[in-house]
């Protein structure tokens, strides 16, 4: 099978490592041909804390996907997250030299380079530089300035950066397994590729990917990324809260969260209890359903409020027309849609990946949104690169050497 039309997305998550293998078909669509999924150990809050264990898990996930898809994986698109990842918007400016008026591709490169000239901490490197809007001679609304006449080209960029060594940890993990990391994409972008349609991006949409260790969010306004962020709070925190609050072991708390957890308050009957069966090493007992819900409610309300506050500070909340899209493994908790629409005061969609051909169970599960988004991203970059005016080709990867070593 030709290597060119196979895309592999690898998400090293806090709770699971997920590998999606997809094949690009002649008609320009993607077909998911295999999904590898193994529970993770050695990852906390989206970052590797135990390298060897995590490497073994990645190996297993890749092997699982290879087996299911019957493809030998050599190159992967990696999702990345972590509390160290930050972003900001910046504008770049270039003046065309005397005697030349037509803007060419080189000017686009120059304006990008100009926008990237910001003082970041020395340990940090830029992950993404995504164009938002071009301005030619101060006039906005320019979609593609190449070929236009002008003296001054400006462009707004959304720049995502993170601590180099922490990004390299994930890359090294993949490299040591004899795999080639084709690109590194932050999880929120990937999730947005999976769950948003183009019209959503135009209208303005907020995607929140609540995963095991982190909550990643991204806002699209006028078809461009306006803001993104990572909050290192996720499903793990809920489990931990339950474990502390109800005094039960973490593994049991996790099961209780998945099976019985609900964020809606005052839905349980007074005194309603949940019976925890006894297992080896755990004496059975009863817990109050309301107490469980209170703990989950407090945590998720807080996490969503922090996200909302961050969006409010940038004054982007009012430009979200298509509403909020919540995805990720933790989004499956009952009642979250209601809570989120109460907090954000706008329609909330519990989203999973838009349909693709192939293994249907994959895209109907919000667990896999990020990994599916990675292959979609890869596909779009591959098909549009380098000439098309599509958004993704503009998200040219410049990694300032994070692949070194």
């Amino acid at each position: 099978m030709a290597k060119d039309n196979i895309f592999v997305g690898l998400e090293i998550g806090t709770s699971k490592i997920c590998t999606v293998v997809a094949e690009a078909r002649g008609d320009g669509t993607l077909k998911v041909i295999g999904v590898g999924n193994v529970p993770t150990r050695g990852v906390r809050k989206g970052e590797i804390v135990d390298f060897d264990t995590a490497k073994r898990c990645v190996h297993d996930a890749i092997a699982d996907a290879e087996e299911k898809s019957d493809v030998e994986i050599s190159e992967v698109y990696m999702g990345i997250t972590g509390s160290h990842i930050r972003s900001f918007n910046n504008r770049g400016v270039v003046m065309l030299e005397e005697g030349r008026e037509e803007i060419d591709g080189q000017d686009l490169e120059d304006v990008r380079a100009n926008a990237r000239e910001v003082s970041l901490p020395i340990d940090d490197c830029i992950l993404h530089t995504i164009v938002q809007h071009y301005y030619v001679d101060g006039q906005d609304g320019v979609l593609n300035p190449v070929g236009l006449l002008g003296k001054k080209l400006e462009a707004d960029f959304h720049i995502v950066y993170g601590i180099r060594t922490r990004i390299q940890n994930a890359i090294r993990c993949v490299k040591e397994l004899e795999l080639e990391p084709a690109d590194v994409i932050i999880n929120s972008f990937a999730a947005a590729q999976a769950v948003l349609e183009k019209s959503h991006k135009q209208l303005g949409a907020l995607v929140i990917d609540i995963g095991g260790g982190t909550t990643d969010f991204v806002i699209y306004i006028d078809g461009a990324v306006k803001q993104s962020g990572v909050l290192a709070v996720g499903g793990d925190h809920i489990t931990n809260d339950i474990s502390i609050g109800l005094k039960i072991p973490t593994a049991r708390a996790e099961k209780l969260k998945v099976e019985e957890g609900d964020v809606t308050l005052a839905t349980a009957f007074p005194g309603e209890t949940i019976l925890l069966k006894d297992e080896t090493g755990f004496a059975g007992r009863e817990v109050e359903r309301e107490a469980l819900n209170q703990i989950i409610h407090a945590r998720l309300r807080e996490a969503l409020q922090i996200v909302k506050r961050q969006i409010e500070t940038e004054q982007n909340l009012h430009y979200i027309g298509a509403g909020v899209f919540i995805t990720g493994g933790c989004s499956q908790i009952r009642g979250l849609q209601h809570l989120a629409s109460e907090i954000f005061e706008m329609p909330v969609t519990m989203a999973h990946a838009l349909s693709m051909a192939g293994v249907t169970s994959a895209f109907e599960n919000p667990h896999f949104s990020t990994a599916l988004g990675l292959v979609k991203y890869a596909h779009l970059v591959q098909t549009n690169h380098p000439t098309s005016s599509g958004f993704f080709s503009r998200a040219i990867r410049k990694f300032s050497g994070i692949f070194r070593n």
Partner: protein, 449 residues
């Protein structure tokens, strides 16, 4: 056009500069003082006060006061605070005369022994009577030094808090964290002394050096006076390309800061950035943004920037704050006279001398046996300046006289170590000064049925 006359005689402002006195009391205090002396501090008077003549002679300070000439006759106070106090009272006039004229007095003492615990509160009070701003830098003994010593230290601390404007407490147990376990003991103590000396020097610098954005005396008072006199201090210095980030990280790593987690509880935080002429706006921005993550919205931030040519390529960040409610507590600083009024009996208890003589130098401290419940005797009132402590500084001992009972309760709750569960070892997620790894319902005090 505005021209400055070349012969314009600028008023010499040296007499407006703030007179600073650094007082080291007891063995540990004079060690710190030596360190301050070695590191160099601009135009500050250094004073050593001790009962032990040997240690006093060894000190490099310019002014020396021997306590208890007749009482201890040049020996140490034998780990007995009462004796330390009595010795200090004997030298009251001498102490007064060295303290005279100081606008800011730094008192350094190692608590737990006789001279430190006994004389330091007394000296602090005398300094307060001279209307100086008094900052106390106290070290608390290691817990392995025995219960007795810890109790003596706590009692000394309670008194210091009653008189001083702020007490910055260095717990030796926590100071041990900065020293490597295999480091030589001498070196370890030197590191501890260095930390204290850094604190003193940076406050002194902050007060004295003219700044681009100047933090005055008033700012320091505001930050330190409001709280319940539990000081927070962090100092970090770095050079190189990433010096802004590094220096802040170092400041937050200071054992007193608990990685910046304690900052969220502070109401006023003072930051002072010092560097050569090449400090950039970007660097200031990096430091402040990073720091803002650790403090909450209501916190009042005082920012100062000082340019010091001697810093060359280095950049230093000092963070100063105090914990507790910022509501001004009348009586602590403003009305020193009122203190004499209440004498809660429990505070007057002093331990009788024990057999083991622990010297002032921490290196030679030995665990003090505390088997025998020693008879406690209320201290006889000594002349008009009676020893006393307002009840509020010692909530544990006299909870019934606590005027703001609820708030005090809240305070205790906050200091309880809260579990982060499985995130114990990972990098904490701190947003707006809240550690999000701690369960939300615990932080928000939601009562879970």
């Amino acid at each position: 056009m505005v021209q400055l006359n070349r012969h314009y005689d600028r008023k010499d402002d040296s007499d407006e500069s703030i007179a600073i006195k650094v007082v080291g009391i007891g063995g540990a205090g004079s060690n710190v003082l030596d360190r301050v002396m070695l590191d160099g501090v601009d135009s500050a008077d250094l004073v050593t006060i001790n009962t032990d003549v040997q240690s006093l002679t060894a000190s490099v300070a310019a002014h020396k006061v021997q306590l208890g000439r007749t009482l201890t006759r040049g020996l140490g106070s034998g780990g007995d605070p009462e004796l330390g106090l009595a010795a200090a009272e004997e030298a009251v006039e001498e102490i007064r005369s060295v303290l005279q004229g100081g606008a800011v007095v730094f008192v350094c003492a190692g608590l737990g022994g006789g001279t430190g615990s006994g004389a330091a509160p007394f000296v602090t009070r005398l300094a307060k009577e001279e209307n100086a701003l008094v900052l106390v830098f106290a070290t608390l003994p290691f817990s392995f030094e025995g219960r007795r010593r810890c109790i003596q230290a706590e009692e000394g601390l309670a008194r210091l808090r009653a008189y001083a404007d702020a007490v910055v407490c260095f717990e030796n147990d926590r100071m041990a964290e900065i020293a490597l376990p295999r480091m030589g003991i001498h070196e370890a103590f030197a590191t501890a002394d260095l930390t204290i000396s850094q604190s003193i020097r940076s406050v002194a610098h902050l007060l004295q050096s003219p700044g681009l954005l100047h933090i005055g005396f008033d700012g320091v008072c505001k930050v330190l006076k409001g709280g319940d006199a539990r000081g927070l201090f962090g100092f970090g210095e770095a050079e190189g390309e990433n010096r802004a980030h590094d220096s802040l990280v170092r400041a937050l790593k200071n054992p007193l800061m608990n990685r910046g987690e304690l900052l969220e509880e502070a109401h006023h935080v003072l930051v002072h950035i010092r560097g050569g002429t090449n400090v950039t706006l970007g660097e200031v921005q990096i430091i402040m943004e990073e720091l803002n993550r650790h403090i909450n919205d209501q916190t009042q931030l005082f920012m100062g920037i000082g340019i010091d040519l001697r810093m060359e390529n280095r950049l230093s960040v000092s963070i100063l704050s105090s914990l507790g409610e910022s509501i001004a507590k009348p009586g602590v600083a403003e009305q020193p006279n009122h203190k004499e009024d209440l004498i809660p009996g429990s505070m007057m208890k002093l331990m009788a001398p024990v057999g083991v003589v622990a010297e002032e130098r921490p290196v030679s401290r030995e665990p003090v046996e505390s088997k025998e419940p020693i008879a406690v005797q209320p201290e006889p009132p000594v002349g008009p300046p009676v020893w006393s402590t307002p009840a509020k500084s010692e909530p544990k001992m006299a909870p019934s006289v606590q005027p703001k009972k609820e708030e005090a309760k809240q305070e205790i709750l906050r200091f309880e170590p809260v579990s982060r569960g499985r995130f114990e070892k990972s990098e904490p997620t701190i947003i707006d000064g809240q550690n999000l790894d701690i369960p939300t319902f615990l932080r928000k005090n939601i009562r879970v049925k």
